[in-house]
Every structure is written in C-alpha cells, then in structure tokens.
Symmetry: D2
Subunit: 417 residues, 4 copies
Amino acid sequence: MVLEDIELKERFFSVRQTTGKICSRLSPEDHVVQPVVDVSPPKWHLGHTTWFFETFILQPYKKGYSLFNDKYGYLFNSYYESVGERVIRTNRGNLTRPTVQEVLEYRGYVNTHMSELFDAGISDKELLGLLELGIQHEQQHQELLLYDIKYILGNNPLFPIYINKPGQHSESMKSPDFLPVESGIYEVGYQASGFCFDNELGAHKVFLHDYAISDRLVTNGEYLEFINAGGYSDFRHWLSEGWEWVKAEEVIAPYHWHLVDGRWHQYSLNGGLKEVDIYAPVTHVSYFEADAYAKWKGLRLPTEFEWEIACKRHSGSHSDANFMESEHFEPVARKGSSFQMLGDVWEWTGSAYMPYPYYQAPEGAVGEYNGKFMVNQMVLRGGSCATPSDHIRVSYRNFFHPHLRWMFSGIRLAKHI
Amino acid sequence: MVLEDIELKERFFSVRQTTGKICSRLSPEDHVVQPVVDVSPPKWHLGHTTWFFETFILQPYKKGYSLFNDKYGYLFNSYYESVGERVIRTNRGNLTRPTVQEVLEYRGYVNTHMSELFDAGISDKELLGLLELGIQHEQQHQELLLYDIKYILGNNPLFPIYINKPGQHSESMKSPDFLPVESGIYEVGYQASGFCFDNELGAHKVFLHDYAISDRLVTNGEYLEFINAGGYSDFRHWLSEGWEWVKAEEVIAPYHWHLVDGRWHQYSLNGGLKEVDIYAPVTHVSYFEADAYAKWKGLRLPTEFEWEIACKRHSGSHSDANFMESEHFEPVARKGSSFQMLGDVWEWTGSAYMPYPYYQAPEGAVGEYNGKFMVNQMVLRGGSCATPSDHIRVSYRNFFHPHLRWMFSGIRLAKHI
Amino acid sequence: MVLEDIELKERFFSVRQTTGKICSRLSPEDHVVQPVVDVSPPKWHLGHTTWFFETFILQPYKKGYSLFNDKYGYLFNSYYESVGERVIRTNRGNLTRPTVQEVLEYRGYVNTHMSELFDAGISDKELLGLLELGIQHEQQHQELLLYDIKYILGNNPLFPIYINKPGQHSESMKSPDFLPVESGIYEVGYQASGFCFDNELGAHKVFLHDYAISDRLVTNGEYLEFINAGGYSDFRHWLSEGWEWVKAEEVIAPYHWHLVDGRWHQYSLNGGLKEVDIYAPVTHVSYFEADAYAKWKGLRLPTEFEWEIACKRHSGSHSDANFMESEHFEPVARKGSSFQMLGDVWEWTGSAYMPYPYYQAPEGAVGEYNGKFMVNQMVLRGGSCATPSDHIRVSYRNFFHPHLRWMFSGIRLAKHI
Amino acid sequence: MVLEDIELKERFFSVRQTTGKICSRLSPEDHVVQPVVDVSPPKWHLGHTTWFFETFILQPYKKGYSLFNDKYGYLFNSYYESVGERVIRTNRGNLTRPTVQEVLEYRGYVNTHMSELFDAGISDKELLGLLELGIQHEQQHQELLLYDIKYILGNNPLFPIYINKPGQHSESMKSPDFLPVESGIYEVGYQASGFCFDNELGAHKVFLHDYAISDRLVTNGEYLEFINAGGYSDFRHWLSEGWEWVKAEEVIAPYHWHLVDGRWHQYSLNGGLKEVDIYAPVTHVSYFEADAYAKWKGLRLPTEFEWEIACKRHSGSHSDANFMESEHFEPVARKGSSFQMLGDVWEWTGSAYMPYPYYQAPEGAVGEYNGKFMVNQMVLRGGSCATPSDHIRVSYRNFFHPHLRWMFSGIRLAKHI
C-alpha cells in the first residue's frame, strides 16, 4: 500500500467519521422525519452516502462483495434514474425502518469492506475517480445534513439546542468598500489538477465590463433596514415570481427568524433561539430576497464570473474562517480589510445555472450528478459555515432554486462603474 | 379509599400500562412519523392521552399541580378548539422532540400525580365522569395506535413484524345464514347505567321493516370473487364518489393487500406479510367497497338500527373472541353457529352518522368529543381485534369517512324479506 | 293521436320553450363559461337536455333517426358512465364550439323529430316513462340553469341585471310559530300514481317522536343577528368540517351577499345588486351554516320525515307562491298564518341522503339518476323560486353536499317538545 | 399635423385594425374562455390593449378625457401592480360581460379619442415613447392572441377551422449545414436608433468561442425520429425537471399533435387537423423538448449571443417569409441556401433570461414590462409566423418558462467546433 493510498484511506475514514459525528448529537427520533420535500431525514443521508460506495465501488470493484441488504438500494437511492427505481422523495420521511442503529451497522459493514479494498491497493484510475467522487459526495451531504437538521430542530416549538459553543460576537462593523475590477477578457473555470465537479470544468474566456464588488457580506443589521422600510410589502423591489412567493408564503423576514416580544430572534444550531446579531452576515435568504434587497439599495448581485474574478484577485486567506470544522455552524461578523469571501454563507449570484461552453456530462450514472439540474436554478459561490473546508474552491458552482433558503445563503453586492 | 376508588385506580393504571405495552414493541423511530393526515405518530398518542388527564383532571382538580412542560398543551392537544391553539394536524409528523423517552417521563409524572389524586379519595361526580371519559378516551387511542402502527409498518418496504403469535388458521367456513327480524317498533340506544358516549344516549324508538341479516362476516375468499369478477373496474357497482375514489387512488384490493408473484398477500401486525386467509373476515375495506360488494351480491348493508336489534337478539357470547387483549391483532375465521358479531372487525352500516333525536352535546370542551363530527361520516358497529374488550358495547357508534380503511373495518350483509 | 298524447306533446313543448326562454335573456358569451366545477355553462344545459331526448328516446324509438352530430354525445353527456366516455366536468367551460346558435339548431332538430314521434302516437309504456323522465329532467336543469346563471352574473364585477320585475317588498314579519306534531308511526314516501323519482318510492313507515316545526322560514334579518353576534367566528356553533370550510373559504355571510359601504347587499337575478330585504327568507346558505344557525338558536333542523309529515298536515295552498313561472327568481317575505312550505327556498333537513328501505335503482343508464349519489349529501325539501311549479312534491327529495350554497337554499327550524 | 404624426397615426390605426381582424374570424363564444392560466380570453386581449392606451396615454395626456367605464381598469389590467388591483389571472375566463360587442365599442371610443389626440399634434417626447410602446404592446398581444386562439380551438373536439389558405407544401428538404463562427469578442444588443424594448438595450461585448450553427430549423420529420426512437421514455436525454414534466403531463409529442389511426396529425390554424408535414419546422415544443432533442442528437442549442451573431452574419432577407401578414399561421418548409432565421418559429436558445450588464428598468408602471420576469425563463430568438413583420428584430429577446409550448416555438441546433 503506497503513501497515496494510505492518505486516501485516511481521508475516506476521516470524512466518514465526520458524518457520524454530525449525527451523533441527534436523538434517534431526529433522524427520521422529512418536514418538507427539500429536507431529507438525517437517517437517509447516512444510508445514501453509504449506498453510493456500495453501489459504485464495492459492487463493481470488490470481488465477492455481497449486499448488506438488497432492499437498501431502493431505500437509499436518490435521483439516479439509471440505477433503479428510486424512492419517491416525499416518502422518505415515512420510513421508520431500518432504524438508526441498523443504518449505522450498514455504515460499519461498508466501511469494513472499503478498508479491505484500500488495503488490497488501488490502481484503477476510474476507481480512484469514483472514490474521490464518493468522498466529495459525502462531504456535500454533510452540509445538507446540517441544513436539514437546522430545519428539523428549528421548526420544533421547543427549539432544541444542537451545539453550544462560546459565540463570536462583534461590537461593530466597518462600512463596505467596493473593490473595482476593470473590463477585459478573463479566464474562468477550474484550471488546476485536483478534484473538481464536472460543472466547473472547461476553463474558458469571458468578457467582463468594469464593475466593483463589496468587500464584505450584507449584515443582519443592514437587512433589518430593508425589513423596517417595508421591503416585503412593496412589489416594486421584487421579481414577479418573487412577489408571488412573498404573498403565498407570507414571508416577512429571513428563514429561521422569529419575532419574540417585538425583537427579532434567529434560530441557530449553536445556542438555539437567540437575538439577531446585527453585525453578522444575513443568512437564510432566497434569491428573490437577495435580488430585492440589492434593487432596494440601487445595486445588484455580481454574476458568477464577476464573483470568481474578484475572488481570485482580492481574496484574503481563509485559514481563520468559521468553517464546518470549527463547529459554530453560524456565520459570524468579520472585520478584516481584505476581501473575505469564503466560508460564512453561500453567496447568491445573478447568474442562472447553465452549462459552461465545453460542458460534457460524464458517462453513466455519475453523469446525472450535475448536468440534469441545469435549468431554473441560480448559482451560488463561496462556501458556508457548514461546508467542509477542503470542499471550498473559487471555481465551485453551487446552485439552488430561487425560492429556497433553508441553506446558509447570503448576499454580496456589486455595481457597474 | 373505598373499594370503588381502588377499582377505578386499578383500571386507570391497567389501561395506562396497556398503552405503554402497545408501544413497547416499537423502535423510537417508529414513534415519530405521520405518513398521511389520518395517521398520528405513536408518540403523539402517548402524549395526547396523558395531556387529557393533565388538562381536564389534574389542572382543575389537583391543588398545586404544576404542568410537566407548558408547551406540551400545544403539542399534544388534538381537536379541542376550546382549550387552546391546536397543532395543525399535518405537522404532527415533524415533531422529533420531545423524544419518546421524554414523553414516557411525562406519562410517569402524570401517573404519579393521578395516583396521589386517587389516594386522596374522589367523590366529586363530575370528576368521576371525567376520569371515566379519560380512561375510555385512552382506550380509543389504543385502537387508533394499532391502526396507525399497522399503517406505518405496513407501508415500509421491509414489512417489519410487530408481533408473532401462533396463528388461528381455519380450513373451511360455513355458508352464511340470514337471521330474520320481523317489522315493528324497537328501542335503540344505550339504556344501562354504566359508561357510554354522548352519541349513544337518548334511547328512543325506531320502526324497522322485516329484514334478515347474515350470521357471519364476508370472508376474504368471498371478497376475492368480487375482485376476480372485475368488481373494481365496473362503475355500475359503485357510488359516484366511490368510483372517483377507485380511479383516483387506483384501488384494486383492500388496504394492506399486496399481489406477490400472482398471489394475494396481506400485511398483518401478527407475522408481517403473509398469504391471504380465505376463511378469515375481509378487513381494511372502505364504505365504498363494502357498499359496492353488497350491490354486486344483490344485497345491502344493514342500517345501524337493524344491526343493533339483530345483535341484541342473536348475539352469542363474545368471551372467546379474538380481542385486543389476545394480541393477535387480526380478524380470524370463526365457525360457531350463533350470530358472532363483536370483536373481529368494525362493520360498516348503511347509516350516516347523525345525532339521535334527543342528542345533546355536553357543555365545555368535552362537548366537542362527538357531536361536531356528525356529517359526511358513516356508522360502524361492533368492535375489532384492536378494540379493548370492555370497550365493546351493542350501542357503540363508531364512525369514519366513507373512503377510509386503515382501520379494521369489514362487511356484514343484510336484505329485506 | 289521443288526448293524452296531445297533452304530453304540449307539455313537452312547453317545457322545451321555457328552457329557451330562460336562456333568451343571456348574451352568447354568458352561455360559455364554467366558473367553478359545480356550475355548468348554460350552453351545456341546452345541449345536455336535448341529448337526453336524442339518446334515450329518438335513437332507440324513432326508426331511421340520424344523429344531428355524432360528437355531441361526447360533449353533452353528463355523468352517465354507461352511455359512453363523458366530458371531464371541469372542461365543459372551455368548449366555445358548438356556438349557442348551433346548439339552438340542435334543439330545433330534436324537437322536430320529437314532434313526429308524438304525432305517430306513443303506446310503449317504457317510452312513456322515458318521456316523462326527460321532461322532468329538463325541468331540473331549468332550475340548475337559474342557479348557474346567477353564479355567472353574480360573480361579474359589473353585476349585470338578468330581469327587472317590480319587487315584492314587505314592511314587517310575524314571529314564527312552532306547530306541534305528536309521536307515532307515520307513512312517508310517494304514494300517488303520478310521476316521481326513484328515490321517493317505497312508501314506508317511520316512527317520529314529539316535535314542533316553525311555520315560516328564517329571515335575512334573523340571520343577520347571527352574523352580528359573531356567529362566523365562534367554532362552537359549527360542525368540525363546517368550521374548516368557514376558515378555508373565509366565509362571513351567505353567498351572493356583499358589504357595500357598511350595508349588506345581495345580488339578485331580479334587479341585480340591492340591499338585503330583512323580512325575506335567507337563502344561499350551506348546510353548515343552516346547522350552525340552528345550534346558535338552541334549536335544530327538522329531519326529512318530520318535514314531510308536518307539510302534509299543516301546509297551506301554494297557488299564489313565487314560483319560477312568476319570474321573480328570489324568495320573498310571506305573512300568511298557515304553514307555508313550498316554493321560496329549498330547506335543509337534518337527514343524510340515503336510500329508503325498499329502494331499488332502475335498470340501465337511467338507474344512475339518483342512487349513485347516496353518500355525503344532505336532503333538502320543499322547492324554490326557481323550481317549476309542477315539479314540487311533498315527497320530493332534493340533495346537495353540505358545503354547497349556490342554489336557493334556506332554513326552517324545529325542536323536540 | 406633420408627416411623422400622420405616419404614426396610420400605423396606430393599422395595428388596431389588425387586432380586430384577427378576432373577426371568431364567434362571440370563442372570445370568452380561459382554458389554462397561460391562455387569456381573446376578449381580454381586445380590452387590455385598449386599456393600455386609455390608461397611459388618454388619461394623462388628453384633456377632459373621461373613462369609457371606470370598472374596465380593473377588468383589463394585467400585471401592472402599480396601476391598481389586478384581476386574478385565473378568473379572466369567467367574465362573460362586458360582451364582445361592448368591448368593440370600447375600442371604438378609445380609437376616436386617440384620433383626436393625433390630430391635435404630438410633440411631447415621453408621449411619443408611450405611443410607440402601446403599438408594440398591441403587436405582442396580436401574437399571443393567435397562440391563445389556437389553444382554444385546438382543444375543442370539433377542431374548428380558423382560416383556410392554400398550403405551402414541400416535397423534400435539404440536409442542414452548420455555419461556422470563429471565437472572439462580439458586440450584442440593440444598437440602432429605432424602437426596441428595454431588455435589448445596453449594447455590450461578449466573448464567444468557436461554434457552428445550423442553417435551418429542425423539421417535423427529424423530430419524429426522436419520438420513434423512444425519446420521450428515456430519462437520459432530459433535464431532471423536464423528465418530471414529461411524466406528470404524460407528454409524448409536441403540443397540438394527435395520433389518428396510427398517423401523427397536427392541429393548425390554417386548415384544422391535418397530417404532419415532415419537411416543415417542428413547432409547439417546450425548452425541455428542444434540449432533450439536441442532447439526443449529440448537439446543443445555441446561446442567445451565438444566435444573434450568426444571424447578423448569415441571415438572408426575410422579405418572402411566411409572417403573420400572409395569414398562413403555420411554419412552412423552406429550402433556400442562406441562413433563414426569422419568421417561422421562435427558437429556443440555451440562455436563461437575465438582464444585460447595463440593464436599467424604466421608471413607473412601464418599468414592470420586462425586468420583473428575469428569472426562471429561457430566451427565444427570431420570430414566428404569428409575429407582425415589423416586430422582428435580430436583437429581440422573447422569453418563456421552459415547460411552455402553446406558442410557435422551435429548434435550431449548434455545436462547438
């Protein structure tokens, strides 16, 4: 077993353990429910990430491997149409069995077999690619797990506390500076040799016009001004579909915000319900809200390419950022002078999620990973306090429907100059 | 403490323990979900029956009683509009907290206080009435618990086994005999001095015309003939709303039936998925199905009064019946010669659920118990294998919407003579 | 051609002309739309009643008859599953063709052939029965036409006037008297030799307990007291499903009522929008509202049998009533001393619509006429200002779902004595 | 009155007459219905385009102008939130009044006042801009009118014929050639001095990579190959939301296609139901279908900028095209050798509808014209057989949701080179 294999194996087990750790703070009951269609039960995430390794790695590549349970493929598949009949997503929340304990046994069983696979030495290049994809896939689900856990606990009238770490509270916040970028042809997309997703590939040129981009995120305090100015009741700020959404859902504030005795509170994984920190970045806003806020300010969101180029040019180190590993699980106020871009919230851009010019979906089931979602979604860039730190890349293209906001999403402003 | 108090206390604790026993066969995960609006999570039943004693007995009648948790009133209320804002029913299935363990602690806390209340002696008549109602109420929820557990487990692709008791299988079944009742004025409704629900009260006269009623339930085998004759695809047998329901829900057999390799199986709490017993009574049929079957046979369902009078006249003892206490939780084939009426399945009648002539809803919150449901539902009579045996009465009026069938419902035929 | 045939032919043409007259006050545009599923386009009524004669009479009984248009069977069928694929009801409102003019030509064509059939002499008994049924069927649709026209015009912001007849306004109203009926066995159902629907047949005995029934309908003024007392916002008066309906539909008054500058107005076919006449009978109330009002008064609705027996005993002549023929199309205040029962509004009873003991659905397609609707509906008795006067019978059983109220429905109170 | 005014006046009346002509082939009944939310009743288009002139021109600019009917503002407004409460879109189809005749009188009244306004001479620049916008707006509605009329008539089982012109049938079709465009910076957006919409403004640079684009549209015959190859039942070709749409709507062919006796027919405004012309361009396809077809061919759709640049470079004259004025109302086979781009069908591009870099919504109500729809829609370029010919521009950005296809939409393929 060569060094590279050992490192890969270590990374595999480290990621697998992190998933377990995220769920270890839950009761068995917390693992089961699916309150809305976009939220999956934590138990399902535990099983699904394991199923991925079983289906795409152990079954084809480990001789004599026998399935832990032949019904799990049906239960833990997600959207992979080519692998078999999937569970209808809205029904995931009814499956009380297998129990959490049984799913953990499933995880152990697959881990054991994966360990044996590593120990036998891995040279097949396609297999290495799938292993890397499986690890990245599980990291993506770690982030989703935290969103979903926050949704489940944050919708419980008891507001259970997930973790309790000493907070990072700030007493002030500097004014935003707008960093300029001059017009010209720029190169975008992933250009290094490590791992990236298919949707980042095909580095290519874009022409950008002069613009400037804020060196910090919009804060809760700034967003409160929008609320207090009646932003949610004036159609002029909103996209037509956004306005329909505001009225239909009776939206009056970011998700997880609650007005308690006249003061705005926010449910946080860290510490439960607590008063809104006006200097921290606003989060849990939809694209509709981000766009409306920007219009109200007379500004706009950056495109994904403006964001990427500005990030490459101005970004400070993110070594001290509040990533998933620090386990605060909330964005915090930052006062540094450089362009802090990565690691508090995913930032809505003004770009629809479409394929890059040379985009090519991979062959087979993994080809369904990204390309089939390229319609009706908007790109978010950056990374959040729930993103594993080695999962953050300047070329990373996250994407969500414009009405969604149960993830850690936020706002950075831009303008033409 | 007088003998009557001791008996009441014993009965209280016996009923409370039975509820716990029903749930003791579940995993914590099984307690949480609400797969459809009519099914409540087992945890909710555990909490709700406890909340009933806390709210209507301990709070008003036990000096210095302090609530276990003042948010539980909100979480475990059901439809009592007069007691406070209720949880929207469809959200019950998202509440992962309190955990099962916490709800059991809640049960223990209330039991302890109830015990003290009993020991102090109870003479207040209204309190005695409420105690009786609370016990009956919990027994009703025991039955619902079993329906809901069956729904939850029976919709899981793993078909988990709830209990495994040696079955009562029959090798044959006698032909049904039709017992005649001659026309005349009959007295119906509850006439004894024990407990009954408000909807049974106001004994009164009805005129019945000559009729005859089957001495046994329709069997699975007989119902299979209807299926095999294309009963589900011929609109002529069906009420108009029934036919819409058949088409919209794509109904082709009773609920919990599954066609496996060309043979009909049935999910049972006792033993899981197993082949349909053609001599056992058919169950999990809706009113629409019961009515269509009867029409297909050229017969009809009895009215609730025909049923009641026939039962009073012809019923054998039900001492050996397969009630909830025997823990088989499935209707079984019976071959006795007398009119076996009570204890396998609730029997759909041809009577809409309407108030008796002298019906009077009680004052206060308990007045919402029955009267407000008197529209769009049909009466079922008898009792089922999930009914506590001291909860079965000849005058008992159960009621469900005509499309529902997750309960143990069945068919008895009648005709004019 | 014998006298009887001549009379039947005259009646046929008289009824056919009345239908045309009802529609003659409409624009072509008014004939087309279906604003809600329960309302059919007037054009459809014109075609459907014609289709009935073509399908059940001309096709089987007139030699060499050729269809006017072989697609009309598809377009103008209603719920007759046995005759062919029906138009999905919610799509009726999209069919702009055939035009009104073409449908009137269809009516003329069928009338001509019917005339020839009459002139050839009719002796076949079944044919005579079908003719009678076709005439009655068209009269039923005349009434529905008026409901639907009122719905279509009454939901137009321009509130178009359908007819303008001098009103019958009253300056006062006597207090209601409660007419007593003593307990005993009574005979109900149709007992004469003329025409009646299958659901009235099978005269039979019922036992009634002592009761009393109001000699007049509840007035708008009395109902306003319920509104002003907060009746629509106190759940205690309402059936559970009624309360859900009130909240979901935001009901605050009878249908067609509008609050204009603080005063309640009512859209009427006669005269359009005008102030509510407090002495006229309240109309356009659902069963939920009728039941809630009665409970609020501490009274109840009569059962259909109490209504029928009281009507037989106490009813005055209805020769001067405000029937459809008088073309006022609104209920009016009446002050006579006798039991005025028939002809202003259909009166909700406390009886679910179920088959009589000896009910037998006729063979064939006409067997679908009544029996298949016998679930989830309530019986209304009497007749309304939109009912053809020879269509009113003391044994007539009208029926609607409990939430419906676009028809002329009203309230009469009863009580036990 | 100077020449320019006379020309504007003439153009105004010419456009107004064309609208009337489009509707003159309808019955009054055809004007009223709204079969689905995206389709508006023709009567509403007639009123709405008139309301536009009344509200934005006559009211502010014509002294002493009095409204034709003050309720029409409410009835004929569309989505202009800033002008007043709008009619809920789904209710447009219930408004039988005003009648078509009354709406035509409304049109005449407004035309008369517009004529007076013209004759008085127009110098105000803002007014001139609004006049131009009103004319363009009415032309847009002419196209929508034709879509909606086709939907209304094409969903009628009688398949009424709208117009009957001698067809342009082709006996063959050349293979497509792919015209190359080399990479570089290109200028896009409207650059001339005439009228254009706000969303075309802000000419700007884009960088395009080498690509090639087909010189003709995909034909019905080519699309049939996709159908026959099982394209609608293989998820691999489809975007995830497209696949959901195919399954939910049970899509198996373009809209208005019907399989009659095993052969594909197409409902056409010109001639009604007739066999599919395999050499004519495919139309009535959604973006999902266009994208799936392109993927199945191993190609892709052009972006809107690739389209625009290729069109500027390669387009032949469109003087002989089958535009709205020729009144064939269907795309036809064309065999010329140049790049025929404009005038048969709107061509789906692979670009989401987003603002151009310097986009600025105009002030006031007209600011709602385009900008608020910039999410979740795809851009279509070109123009169709229902587009007025002076309404076709190379920079014109049409946009629809990706699932819509009742408009004349089609497919042009592109690829990287």
